[in-house]
Amino acid sequence: MTIKFAGFDMYGLEALYTDEERMIRDTVRAFVDERVLPVIEKHNREATFPAQLVKPLGELGVFGATISGYECAGLNNVAYGLILQELERGDSGVRSFASVQSSLVMYPIHAFGSEAQKSKWLPRLAKGDAIGCFGLTEPDFGSNPGGMTTRAVKKAGRWVLNGTKRWITSGTIADVAVVWAKVEDGTVRGFLVEKGTRGYTAPEIKNKFSLRASVTSDLIFEDCEIPEENLLPKTEGLKNALMCLNQARYGIAWGAVGSMMACYDCALNYSKTRIQFDRPIGGFQLVQAKLAQMVTEIVKGQLLCLQLGRLKDQGKSNHVQVSIAKRNNVSWALEIARSARDILGASGIVDEYPIMRHMANLESVFTYEGTHDIHTLIIGEAVTGLPAYKG
């Protein structure tokens, strides 16, 4: 196990993590250095998902890491956050895969599923023997998921699903989809749809400029019949889907820190060795201003995540805090990627360096799991009491 990324601790944060949290981070850090970084540019270039990483990540215990039992690791939320930070230091697509598997598939099965659903799926998903996806967003309903048109109608003891989901991470490769649909009285409920079910197809969305090492798909349901027991019994409304998103957004806030670290580290090293006007460009004030801003924002991002994780472990966090962290960290990650690209000059645009890949990936991260603007409005509503996104 060799860690190549030295990391940096400008603000004495190491002391705020427990020994186990640091060991978990360092283990995933070494995994990313040894297994992800050597192959990621090729996958990104060829727009292929690094499927060979799924089993090893499962063996490591990354998926559903906060769940106790069902062969999951039973970690706290800070340790889980550090895992995602390291994965996204590798690639946002790899982190997205892990986020979906853990927060959007294993979490709802664990929180809203029957015992039979949990014991059937959680151990397989944990080990990477099965892949999951989460279908909420539709072509016409993104920021406003409550308007969804996907319907589930009960007929002769079975549920019949009709509708289309879009921008679904891991859709095409998923063995099980957690699908949200309205039942006859208009209530949103969650269902498990298995790969190969008649009437269910999941074509991949091709030609993306972003998250190229991750699979993105449509989920199409045409009179798709599933057994009655595939309903997630404890789902009773859209709020359950939003609870899943809250888990995932928490992880994204940490992941963005990983991306910031990768871009900063690259720009810093480049600035020390790139000579212009007979000296390293890192010695020029304008470059230093960029690096100083980057490192300051990274420290702030780390602190936002760490306190949020501690609150979450105490059961005291709320969705507004999650919005603050996701909104701030992803937005700064994007700024840092652009600034790092600037420091690298023309070299910044080729995939010999990771920056442009991170930058392009972050455009998706900026939009998915609650767009930057929607998070702004969530915070705005929390401080004013006036919801701006409702009619």
């Binding site: 196990m1 860690i3 030295a6 186990e20 060991m23 978990i24 283990t27 890491a65 895992i83």
Partner: protein
């Protein structure tokens, strides 16, 4: 099968080391420490043997400062069952001192197999495994790349210049691990959480008379600065002359 693995905390291979002010040891300031890489092969092999041969125990043991507890915890996280740290009172113990402290402790454990890394990457002593085996009266096979067990004996493969050597030893025996023996696993995250609940024994390492004293440690000589012989085609004769007469490469 009871297997003891001797491990050491060493500066991380990616860290920059400096000679300390005493001129005889490394300056620990700003150095990150890690598992000795060869010890990872040794621990992995011990875990594999245990997985294959059924009930048994893998014990990791180290002589080192209090901070060496961390690397023992890393190996517990990989899957070792328990750890023993023989704490150093002062730095500077020589290889024989380390080996005799280890052997003294291992004797009471009566293992079937003792595994060590072939050398520690800090002092490159490459002595401890062999001395431990000698003190325990065990046969030792150095730099092994494969170990196969049969009733009461082991067949070990060693890489030698230009080929392989295959040797048979009766157990108990000691082996030192070479790169290529296996692919060390990552500790699982569950394993990391379980590690803190595993038995961890700490006791002072018995005093040892030094048999060897480091009198000087110095960094390699600085490489001389490059020299520009000229520009363009006109510089070629001077370059050829320098490559032939000075560098003696052509």
């Amino acid at each position: 099968m009871k297997i003891v693995v001797c491990v050491k905390r060493v500066p991380d291979t990616t860290t920059q080391v400096k000679v300390g002010p005493d001129g005889t040891s490394l300056d620990a300031a700003g150095v990150t420490f890690a598992n000795n890489p060869y010890d990872e092969y040794a621990v992995e092999e011990a875990l594999k043997i245990k997985e294959k041969t059924g009930p048994g125990e893998v014990i990791v043991i180290s002589v080192g400062p209090a901070e060496a507890a961390q690397i023992l915890r890393n190996f517990l996280a990989m899957g070792a069952d328990r750890a023993i740290l023989l704490k150093e009172t002062a730095p500077g113990r020589d290889n024989f001192g380390v080996a005799s402290a280890l052997a003294g402790e291992i004797k009471g454990l009566a293992p079937d197999i003792v595994l060590c890394g072939k050398q520690a990457v800090d002092d490159d002593g490459a002595q401890v495994g062999a001395i431990v085996a000698r003190l325990l009266g065990m046969p030792v096979v150095n730099t092994v790349t494969k170990i196969e067990l049969a009733a009461g004996k082991a067949v070990a493969h060693r890489e030698i210049e230009g080929g392989h050597e295959v040797v048979e030893v009766s157990l108990p025996a000691a082996f030192t691990a070479q790169k290529g023996l296996n692919e060390p696993r990552f500790p699982s995250l569950k394993g990391i959480m379980a590690a803190k609940k595993k038995p961890f024994e700490e006791k002072p390492a018995p005093a040892a008379e030094p048999r060897l004293t480091v009198i000087k440690m110095e960094p390699p000589a600085k490489r001389p600065a490059g020299r520009i012989l000229g520009k363009g085609v006109e510089a070629i004769p001077a370059l050829v002359k320098a490559l032939h007469d000075e560098a003696k490469v052509i």
